[in-house]
Symmetry: D4
Subunit: 252 residues, 8 copies
């Protein structure tokens, strides 16, 4: 409830068109729909400009179906489901039309929107093994209305590969740098561009990579400025934040 709406309500109280108890209870009114096992946040789009996303891990197909149906009833056109395993996806697809991206473990209910801003997001990865996370980021950003350019397999051990794409990187509004192992990609890109770099450590690697911890720590300690970090393998979070920045960036 906005201040303006509050004042209107109070005016109605004053005018006697709404009585006191009714008004008191409207002021306290909770801004969500309760469907028992989850509170669907239908005001989030208003509040944050972006549709709700369903985090699929830890929810069964039945629960997700319920949430999707509640959202669609409220008029949500596109719904993104992340961490959606193949078998749950199959179950959902029996209920409604849903595109499923197997590598990224992402389901999309409804149409992809046309990009609604001119700028682009570049997604760079260190190696072939980072694709899963990269695709989670890319599809998230595309669902949220962004143009995305994929720049995969440009790890720093062959730094000339990366430099060959310096122009592409410099045209971006925001770069998502995705890497496992030593995670140095974020630092090198951070030194090349003057836009925000969102670093995503991945759990790719072996031995002392400790499930992405090494890349995470390395990215947090980046000697380049303009780099910030999201959680290990959090392609969705990076895509979401990148979309937020991209949509708010002024055109150059």
């Amino acid at each position: 409830m906005q201040k303006r709406q509050l004042e209107e309500l109070l005016q109605q109280v004053k005018d006697g068109t709404v009585d006191v108890k009714e008004a008191a209870s409207r002021i306290e009114l909770t801004p969500f729909v309760d469907i028992g096992y989850a509170k669907v946040d239908t005001q989030r789009e208003l509040r944050q400009g972006i549709p709700e996303v369903i985090y699929g891990a830890g929810k069964n197909a039945e629960q997700m179906k319920g949430i999707v149906l509640a959202m669609r009833e409220k008029g949500q056109r596109t719904i993104l489901i992340t961490r959606l395993t193949m078998d749950k996806a199959t179950t959902l697809q029996e209920q409604f039309a849903m595109a499923y991206y197997e590598e990224a473990e992402i389901g999309v209910v409804g149409e992809f929107p046309v990009p609604d801003c001119k700028g682009k997001i570049v997604i760079a990865t260190g190696g072939t093994s980072d694709h899963k996370v990269a695709e989670e980021a890319a599809l998230t950003a595309e669902v949220l209305g962004n143009r995305v350019e994929r720049l995969y397999d440009v790890g720093v051990a062959g730094v000339h590969r990366l430099l060959a794409h310096a122009d592409c990187l410099r045209d971006a509004n925001v770069v998502i740098a995705i890497a496992g192992m030593e995670g140095a990609l974020a630092s090198v890109i951070g030194g090349l561009v003057d836009c925000p770099v969102i670093a995503v450590p991945t759990s790719v690697g072996y031995g002392a990579s400790f499930g992405g911890l090494t890349a995470l720590l390395a990215m947090l300690n980046s000697c380049a400025s303009g780099v910030s970090v999201v959680n290990i393998d959090n392609g969705f979070g990076a895509g979401y934040l990148a979309s937020m920045i991209n949509h708010r960036t002024k055109e150059s």
Copy 2:
């Protein structure tokens, strides 16, 4: 060297006004000034739009003086020195005019610029003990030409304090959320705003705060979207990134 400059040079080779060996060596020419113990990166402003900053920890006063003088000769108007201890600051102040901010351990050589964009950065902290890091972020952002609003001591244990400032937070182009202990501030702010939130864990706390590790991990695991994280106590990094985002944000 830009592509245009390269083409010009090649034209001169073709025209015979520059000979082959000379051209080959110009192409390889390194883009920095060597002063022995450090390579001052005078092209960074061009490349990244932002002046060089000196990281004071691990450098002695003599080294910093050399770097500052080299920068000034190249025409740098404002120079920021972070992690500058009081005693080194005193030594530098004997060499040239420098404002010193003791709590933030920051020195500023030259004038603060007038803010060159309309948007603002809000810096929120969880408690009184986070001020040092917050001031490092705030002064960094101000040196880089931003309007900054400080919203200190709004930790989540009294969540009404924070909610009372919701409007202030929603007006920001970017919010820096600074907290130690359990670092929950970033999550709560992330749920309130629709602009990027840069989370800075601080080493404030005791026992199992492990020098900021707990806040760092908590912020990386934020259940709110739009939140990314920089290193523990890295006020500078947050201020720098916030400035980058703020300058690039379109006016609403």
Copy 3:
């Protein structure tokens, strides 16, 4: 053996009705029943006012059956079995009547008692994925004779959801706050209520949640007072402690 019983025994020694060696050995008598692979603690109810609970992990169905039967012979009316996998439950159900709660992995032998105190325990969770642990806590508390109110899916990223239930929280004798990821729920609730808050970190999350370690550390570092913490995913421990506090709380 209570002091009174000891004195009685000594009196019998004095009276000559019990001889010295017999008395010496009764004083040393062990207060439990030995069934070979486990020592069933039949005095615990006397000593602690609460029935024995069987921790199902690491015990096979045969062992659990033996323990249950020994308990029932001693007159135990309700027996709770935690961490009971589906397959072991099925085996047990062939031996005696037992209700099985699949999500919570809990088996209950015998009737649920009628709540024997007026106060209530509120169990709040951060998200849908914390239900398993929450149900373990809730069923434990209910078996132990408490009224339980479930307040699920009120994570701090949408802090208004939680605030909408502030009255419910303030009516509790004790609140159990269950959350994974950054575990901030405990801090925010701790700031809203004036009763004890038992925080339960869950292993829900990915990447740097490290199996609940992040939530655990965050909860231990809560900036709110009145919060204490039990082990990761330890819904039983929280339910048990909450029952203890609830039964001992005076009516307001």
Copy 4:
């Protein structure tokens, strides 16, 4: 603002005795006093039944003085300052009367209250070296109006010492178990009593005690039920929570 107050205000709006804008702004009125560097939470006593406490670490004497004076003006009779170093205490004592407990690093402004409930809190420690934390807990509980019984130096390596005090422990409304090293005290006490046990790990020990981490983990893994844990060395938190439980426990 209570619902009743809100309804009264709305009635006044209806009656025309308060105008709309005035009412709207009262509804949004923030419930604290802003003194610039800190927001003193004068409603906390109302909201939580317990006076504000000042966490002294990370605040300088000047800041603490300001907070104390603001509190006293609001009528706070007793103010507790924790983590107060000797030198800051001396500075504060020049400003107003304050008792200073050196071992516990605690300052108390104003009188200790008379215990306002019959139950008692027992504080048990593993060894001489845990006294500092124990005194922080004990003084906190006493300032908050509790009867406290100290049971120091009863570590489990001589378990008969502890058993000799079993009656004392069983009389408590709540026990605070404080131990460093392997932290086993909490488990053994937890098995002896049927009231809540608050475990406080201390940073006492050497080698692989890792500043209290070992005791913390051991206490979280206690095989006894009814045990919960607060942060390492957090005597204040334990004393505060124990007071909360003690005041709410019904008399037996």
Copy 5:
């Protein structure tokens, strides 16, 4: 080669019955039998008084068969195989007679020896779930010729259970204390007896037990003297060391 053997050889060189090159090479002669993928250490019994043991993890059945056969050819009467999974055991049992203890995952080729010393080893465990490790220790000690007394399920949360067996513990030449979770058993036993206590942390537990790390750290920090620690779940190591101590202890 013993010094005496060396002197004999040199005497033979002097006598001319062995020539120089032959002697030089015998001195360098390796004291083991090479079977390609493993060097069977047939001198160990001489050197250490105890037969070779095969660590089954990481070896396939074929490799173990080869080692067993080589050992038997050298006259080894009893061979212990630890960490032997059921399927590999079955394969081995097709080759030669071998007793297999499923819970302990131990195979024994040949006869158990008659105990060759009077003293006894007591093996105490915290709970039912520690049996696997306890049996590994017990069988190892028995294979090595010791009398073993099992004292299972005497965890410290019911410390009276343990105290009831104090005499049994005090009769031991060495006690093996096996516990997971908070590992306090070792400390309490260490305070009761005056013989060496070998503590074995187990990976039993959940949440912050971190696969036995908590018990390991707790045991290393035991406040009782006379306690030393072996690796997590290392029942074999404890049984072996206990046997070594037991055999060398003088009779009282």
Copy 6:
């Protein structure tokens, strides 16, 4: 592009046989072949003297097939695929001839080269369980044209086994020391030889070996000089580095 090639190109610009734009773009020309999901680095052999190797983990058979075919078209005679699971190997073997080494999980496409240098690499392991990693190292070195001597199962608990092979170790140009558990092998070998020792910690062990972390830390802290360390289980990295050193070592 070598400097000589650059000068030739510039000469052609001068001569007018290549025009300016063409030259500018050639200078920027990227030195790799883009096949979509991976950039095959065909210049690496020139640049580093060693053929490309495919890291099989995280790539599916289809991707690997594509990379192999692209390499072979470019004339690569021998291709090494590491971390290649049996099932993917089988799929690849349907496409082209490939030798598969199951224990080492390595595939080799094409012929093993004849050793092209006289020196040898010695590969020593602590126990039978380290063979997998050792074979990865050995096969890698052999594919890269080295003579390899395997010295397996010489762990330090029987240090005489190792000393018996001292001459073999002293003849090496480089030693690879592979061990899990406490990783002491590297230190003991480092004290025996005067050539570089490459230490490879393995994830063999249990309990507090923490997947190789213990061996890794121990090797990094080796008290012997001349020892450096690669990642846990990184047999390939050790074999590659050993080959590099071996080929560059002068003959003695």
Copy 7:
């Protein structure tokens, strides 16, 4: 109270020479002397055969003086104080005669006893820097009546140094192996001897030695049997346990 004493007491009850209440309270009588801030355990010598030791860290000189005086009154002839800093030692020496060993930070009140058993304890160290811990172990063992042989500076990087002393090691009843860095000394010694080896990790080292954690983990993972571990830098614990084993070992 021994069983015999209990029976005597009961006989006296029967005989009427002791009355019932008196007897009941004697049975419950606590077996220690309470001096307020510490409970001196005067029965320990009876119970464990070894005098009390004072752990000096975390106790001030005044407290230690009180404990020493209480002990001497009870007839304790030799008192060991560990972790005793120079300044506290000086204060104590003003109160009573006490030898102070600066390197080991140990004070000894009273005479060293004559060794009361024939066997010897060998204490081996990896390097000069481990002396402090070694002397703590050696002095502890000597105070407890043992013959000690010091074998310092025999680290494994020069394994021949250690082998040269193999006979000395083999003559021991128990070996204490003290080492920092990679802690390999324990494994190599464990392979050479057939008596128990007590491993003491030290905090000597730098970088990734992590204050002794690396040596600790390495020792726990020792591939040699017969090795157990005490806490980092715990020279006292090792000396105490070694004394216990040495006194109980039969003469060969």
Copy 8:
């Protein structure tokens, strides 16, 4: 003792010029000089081709003086002392001539040798703050007879700085890459050169650099081949290993 020497000795036994016991004892003769608190390893030069180095940390000036004098008597011309604090250096300089390098905390007794091989070692650092470790490496290598080229302050955030020196790097026989923070320098250099790269993580950085742990892990996970790692801040170890490799590399 070399095999040749052993055969000579045996010949003398045969000839009767040396008797059996004498020979037996010579064979066992220890190859070092015992000066009480340290065993100086005078055979190391023979065995390893490189002079002994004194690790200064944990040794007092008196001990170091004794070791130096013993070495000089044995004819050692150049002695390196690492981790030598200023005050100990001053004490030593009163005893004999010694050059002291304050930044590197290194003392050199005797003359630097003339480089005895043509190849060079390149030492690259990420930033000004890594100089201390770099100088330890550089001085070590120079003392050991190598030509060293320093390439300081070429961190990857400005990757063009590093690329500008690619030729210098490619001319090296071995590169030492020294960096703190995210440690990416090693990976980028590893991709540029075809000689061994020794990576040295430094403890430079703040927050989540964890005293060099982040750089250490990152370097171990380097995606470039040919990289191995030494301990955090271990400039000496890197310099020593680099010298070993450099002296053994054939001239190209």
